[in-house]
Symmetry: C2
Subunit: 207 residues, 2 copies
Amino acid sequence: MSVIKRLPRYYRFLGELKKKDISRISSRELSQMMGFTASQIRQDLNCFGGFGQQGYGYNVDQLRTEIGSILGVDNGFKTIIIGCGNLGKAIASHMAFEDRGFELVGIFDKRSEEMQDIRIKGISISPIEDLEIYCREVEPVVAVLCTPTTATPDIVDRLINLGITNFWNFSHYDINSVYPQANVENVHLNDSLMTLSYQITNNGGVE
Amino acid sequence: MSVIKRLPRYYRFLGELKKKDISRISSRELSQMMGFTASQIRQDLNCFGGFGQQGYGYNVDQLRTEIGSILGVDNGFKTIIIGCGNLGKAIASHMAFEDRGFELVGIFDKRSEEMQDIRIKGISISPIEDLEIYCREVEPVVAVLCTPTTATPDIVDRLINLGITNFWNFSHYDINSVYPQANVENVHLNDSLMTLSYQITNNGGVE
DNA sequence: TAGATTGTTAATCGATTAACAATC
DNA sequence: TAGATTGTTAATCGATTAACAATC
């Protein structure tokens, strides 16, 4: 696993330490909390600059701020969600986009008429046909894809044409095979669930 | 990344090939479709037994069935969902549990009274207080945790006491640090989102 | 038999861990 | 100064890739 997949985890734990008013932490203490080796923590943190101090450890608040800025938590990237079925709705209402570098500005769905009365975080559901007009006006830079896999290729083409190249992708469509330059973070819930099935089947989860 | 994290992906692609009535595939063709090296595919598949044939390749249908049985897609583990907010609702209605080795049998929420009229896949929402009675009767073996992180430790204790040791965990509570023997598949959507933020910030996603 | 493609070993690469000198 | 703990190099480990003999 690469360092950057661990950064959000560091950020989370440092946030918890901060909440507890702990201002100082050593790589050894952190390793016990997080389940990495102290060695790896020192190596990871050193990738991005010497945040620690010999004989002292790391300053929780400073380190958290540094990692936060590496992760871009203050960027406020304008973000739209495409697809407002159960998953889209869950993502829209459940995720704290603002705390993680995003600003949710729009939600689109094919069946927007049926959802006229719905507001999620004060945002109404727009019809998918308005995508072009909307994007030229608002200029979002990130799209969250909660669309069925069959509908996704067409949507992605349209978004790319509108200059959107960053995707949080819950569908199974492989964006990078068509647009290698796009930034894509895939969430494959089906694969995750099957991994659990494998574990149970093979690790004696059910006796 | 380990082999087993790739198995669901193989299973998915083989399913697509099957749909297209393709009965035979070589590691080289598969590598082009899936973006792994042919070498890795041969090595992966050979971990679980010699499914291929020299000079011919792999039989799509047979290979898919084999991988399916390794993943345990026919096990039908009885599964309950705890927490029926947006995320729980999305998971309950969105995931095809039956196709992946699970059978959704119950859904629990603290506020079940407010959800008296709701049925998801024919299942009504039970109050969380009924957890013990229900589990002793139905004996589910897997729990999907869509609870807020603060509520999760208590829930996990109760589930472990009821003999449930397999978890699909959407909360941030680290089950394995308390119950090392439990089978846990974590889904950390927040971390995934921050990884995207990092990519955009550092790969020049916004120019 | 000739061609194709696997199974499998060996080589490479990268990531993790261990060790320790630097330094606060 | 002595103790603690980082930064950093070297050693280990595991996973990926390349190569090729086995064989259908």
